[in-house]
Amino acid sequence: MSSRDVVLARVRRALADVPRASGPEETAVPRDYLREHGEHPAEDTVQLLAANLADYRAIVHDIDAAGLPGLLAHLLGERGSRSVVAPAGLPPEWLAACDLEVVPDVPETTPGELDAVDSVVTGCAVAIAETGTLVLDGSPDQGRRRITLVPDHHICVVRVPEQVVASVPQALERLAPGRPLTWISGPSATSDIELDRVEGVHGPRTLEVVLMRP
C-alpha cells in the first residue's frame, strides 16, 4: 500500500461520522459577509487606495497618461538610478524620457545580475483599495516575478480607475489562478524585533505607486 493510499484510508476511517452520500455540500458555508466595505463611487475608491498605500509607506503619485514618461524620468533621476529593468510588454513610451540603461527581462539574466540593477518599472493586474494592495500576475507589462523582487526600488503604474477594485473578494474575481501572482502591500517589512515594524528587508525597500489617469 502506498503512503498515498495509507493517508487517504486513514482520512476515510477518521470521517466515519460524516454522511458521505450527500457530498461536501452537506456542510453549508454562509457567505453573508460583504463584497466590499461600504459602497464608494470610483473616485473615492481611488482615493482610498492612495490613502492605504501611503499608510503602509508606499510613495504615491497621481498623473495623467501624457505626464507619465516625464514623471518616471523624474523619479528615476531623483533617485540616481543608473539602470532599470523593463518587462517585455511595458509600453515603450513609458521610459522614453529616461536617460539610463534599460535592462530587458529575459530568462538568461542571473539573480546576481538583477541585484546590480537599481530600479524596476512595471504595470499591475489589479489594485485593492481597502487593503492598499497591488497584484502582479506576470502579464507582459509586469514580467517575471523576480524582477520586482531583487532590485531595491519598484515603481508600479496602476491604470485608474479601471484597474482599481474596492476589496479582496472583487480582486480574486478578476484574477486568473493559473498565473503566478504576487500581492504587494507596501514595501517589504518585518516586525520580528520586538514587534517594531521596520520597512525594507529583502524585497524592494522603496515602493512607488503611480496612479495613472487616462
Binding site: 460583504l34 546576481g112 492598499g132 524592494p204
Partner: protein, 498 residues
C-alpha cells in the same frame, strides 16, 4: 517530532522557570500587549468580521469533513499544472522524501521560508544529518538559528529576544554562517534588519533549492499560497530552480473563492495589518518564471488521528495566525518554549497532544496549561473553541478512552500521576451528590474553624505558597437558611443520599 523536544520537562515546571526570568517576562509582555491592541484595531475596521469568521469556520469544516475528496482534487490539479505530489504518513517519511529530492538536485544547501510544518517534523536536523545545510531566511528564524535557540512563537519565533540580545547574536554568530555583521552594529531594529538583508542576500542569489510550507492550497486550481512580510518568502519561492513545499493535509481549501475569506481573516489576526506586505500564489510551474521543478509533500504526521476525534478535529481549522498566543495570559508568562513543540500557546496545548498523543508527561500536561479564560476562543478567526477541546483532552488524560494513533483505533489508559486527584474528585462527587454529607462536613469545618491555618502543608502549598486561605465561616448558607427560614416556602426535603 524534533529531537530538541525530547526530554522536555512537563509544562508546569518549565513555565515556573520562565516566570522567574524577568527579562523574558518583560520581552513577552511588551510584545504580546503591543500586537493584541493592534489586532483589535485592525479587526474593528471590518464591520462583517463575525460573518467572515463564520464563513472561515464553515469552509474549514467542509474541507475537513470531506478531506479525502479535496486532497484528491488538489493532487490532480497540482499534477496537471506541472507539479509532483508526494505523500508522507509521518515526520520520518517526509524528511526522507525531502532529503531524497534535495540530493537528486546535487545541491548541498537549501534556503527555507519559515514553515511550521518543517519545524514540526525537524526537517533541518534531518537534512543536516544528510550533510545538507538548511538556511532559515525569515528574520526571526535567522535569529533563532544563529542563536542555536528554539522558536517560541508561531508568527514571531524570536519574540523572547529583545533588540540587544539580537544584536549580540548577530555580532557573534553571523560570521560563522556567512557574511558577518557590519562593524559597529547597533541595536536599532532598522540596522538589525539591514544586517540580515546583507547576510542573506548572498544565500538567496546562489540558491538552487528552496523549501517552503504553505498557508493555503486550493483544491480546485492546485494553487499554493504563502503569506509573508519580508520578501524572504518570495526569494525562496521564485529564485531557486527547484521548490519543495511541505504542507499539512489540513491546509487545503476547496475553491479559489474561499481565499477571499482567509486573505481577510489571516493578516488582521496575525500581524494586525489590513494586508501583509507580500503574498505569493503559484500553480505548479510557469515556463520561464520561477522554479521549473515543483514538489509538494503532503504531510499527515498525526493529522488524520486528530481528524478522527469529533471534538478535537476543530483544531485542524487553525490557520496559524497566532492571535491566541498574543492574548493568552498563560503564554505571556510561560513563554513558548514551555510548550515543548513547534506549536506554543493555546493552539499548541490542543494540537500537540493530538498530533503526538498524551503518552509523555509533557504532552499530558499541555491540556492543563490554561485557566480556561476563553480569550483565545474569542479572537480565533476560525472560531476554534480551544477551551472546549482543552477540557475534552483533560478527560482523555484522566479517564483514558478510545483514540486513534497512527491510523489505528486504540484504547488508552488514564495517564499516571492522577490517582490522588481521581480519588479526591470521586470523593467530592459523592459528597456533592449527598447534601446531607456536605452539610455534616460544613458543620465539622465550622466547629474547627479556629484551628484552620492560612497556609497548608504538602500538596496544598501549591495554593498557599502565594495565597492565604479564606477563613471558614461559623455557619454555612444552608444552615443559616434552615435556621432562619426552615420549613417556610416549600424549601423541601433534603436528601440524605440517593
Amino acid at each position: 517530532m524534533s529531537v530538541t523536544d525530547l526530554g522536555m520537562p512537563a509544562f508546569p515546571a518549565a513555565a515556573a522557570r520562565s516566570t522567574r526570568d524577568t527579562r523574558l517576562r518583560a520581552n513577552l509582555r511588551y510584545a504580546t500587549h503591543t500586537i493584541r491592541d493592534k489586532r483589535a484595531r485592525a479587526v474593528s475596521e471590518l464591520g462583517d468580521w463575525a460573518q467572515l469568521r463564520a464563513a472561515g469556520r464553515a469552509i474549514k469544516d467542509r474541507t475537513l469533513r470531506h478531506l479525502d475528496h479535496y486532497l484528491e482534487r488538489l493532487e490532480e490539479a497540482v499534477t496537471a499544472a506541472g507539479g509532483q505530489v508526494h505523500w508522507a504518513t509521518d515526520a520520518a517519511e517526509a524528511n526522507r522524501i525531502v532529503t531524497r529530492l534535495v540530493r537528486a538536485t546535487g545541491e548541498r544547501e537549501v534556503v527555507k521560508v519559515k514553515s511550521m510544518a518543517t519545524q514540526e517534523i525537524g526537517l533541518n536536523e534531518a537534512l543536516a544529518e544528510a550533510g545538507i545545510s538548511a538556511y532559515e531566511t525569515d528574520l526571526a528564524e535567522l535569529i533563532v538559528q544563529l542563536g542555536k535557540d528554539r522558536p517560541s512563537h508561531i508568527l514571531v519565533p524570536a519574540i523572547h529576544r529583545n533588540r540587544s540580545e539580537i544584536r549580540d547574536i548577530f555580532r557573534s554568530e553571523m560570521g560563522s554562517w556567512g557574511r558577518p555583521a557590519p562593524d559597529g552594529l547597533s541595536d536599532r531594529p532598522a540596522e538589525l534588519a539591514e544586517a540580515a538583508r546583507l547576510h542573506l542576500r548572498e544565500k538567496f542569489l546562489r540558491a538552487k533549492v528552496g523549501i517552503s510550507g504553505a498557508n493555503f492550497m486550493v483544491a480546485e486550481t492546485g494553487t499554493l499560497v504563502v503569506v509573508e512580510s519580508e520578501g524572504n518568502g518570495r526569494m525562496c519561492l521564485t529564485l531557486p530552480e527547484t521548490l519543495i513545499s511541505v504542507v499539512g493535509i489540513e491546509k487545503v481549501v476547496p475553491t479559489w473563492q474561499d481565499l477571499e475569506v482567509f486573505l481577510q481573516l489571516l493578516p488582521r489576526s496575525s500581524t494586525a495589518e489590513r494586508m501583509n506586505p507580500y503574498t505569493s500564489m503559484w500553480t505548479g510551474t510557469t515556463d520561464g518564471d520561477g522554479p521549473q521543478t515543483f514538489h509538494l509533500v503532503l504531510l499527515d504526521n498525526g493529522r488524520t488521528d486528530t481528524l478522527a476525534d469529533t471534538v478535537g478535529r476543530q483544531a485542524l481549522r487553525c490557520i496559524r495566525c497566532s492571535a491566541c498566543l498574543n492574548v493568552c495570559p498563560v503564554y505571556e508568562r510561560a513563554g513558548g518554549h514551555a510548550y515543548g513543540s513547534a506549536y506554543p500557546g493555546p493552539i499548541g496545548a490542543i494540537l500537540t497532544p493530538q498530533l503526538r498523543g498524551t503518552a509523555s508527561a509533557l504532552d499530558a500536561s499541555l491540556p492543563y496549561a490554561s485557566s480556561l479564560c476563553g480569550a483565545c476562543y474569542e479572537v480565533c478567526p476560525v472560531a476554534i473553541d480551544i477551551p472546549e477541546v482543552l477540557v475534552h483532552l483533560r478527560e482523555r488524560v484522566v479517564e483514558g478512552g478510545k483514540v486513534t494513533r497512527r491510523g489505528v483505533k486504540t484504547l488508552i489508559k488514564p495517564a499516571k500521576g492522577h490517582a490522588a486527584e481521581r480519588a479526591a474528585m470521586r470523593a467530592a462527587g459523592l459528597v456533592f451528590d449527598r447534601p446531607g454529607v456536605l452539610r455534616a462536613g460544613q458543620r465539622l469545618a465550622a466547629r474547627t474553624r479556629k484551628l484552620h491555618p492560612r497556609r497548608l502543608p504538602g500538596p496544598g502549598r501549591a495554593w498557599s505558597d502565594t495565597r492565604d486561605l479564606p477563613p471558614v465561616p461559623a455557619e454555612s448558607f444552608r444552615d443559616w437558611w434552615q435556621r432562619t427560614r426552615g420549613g417556610e416556602r416549600g424549601n423541601g426535603r433534603e436528601e440524605g443520599g440517593k
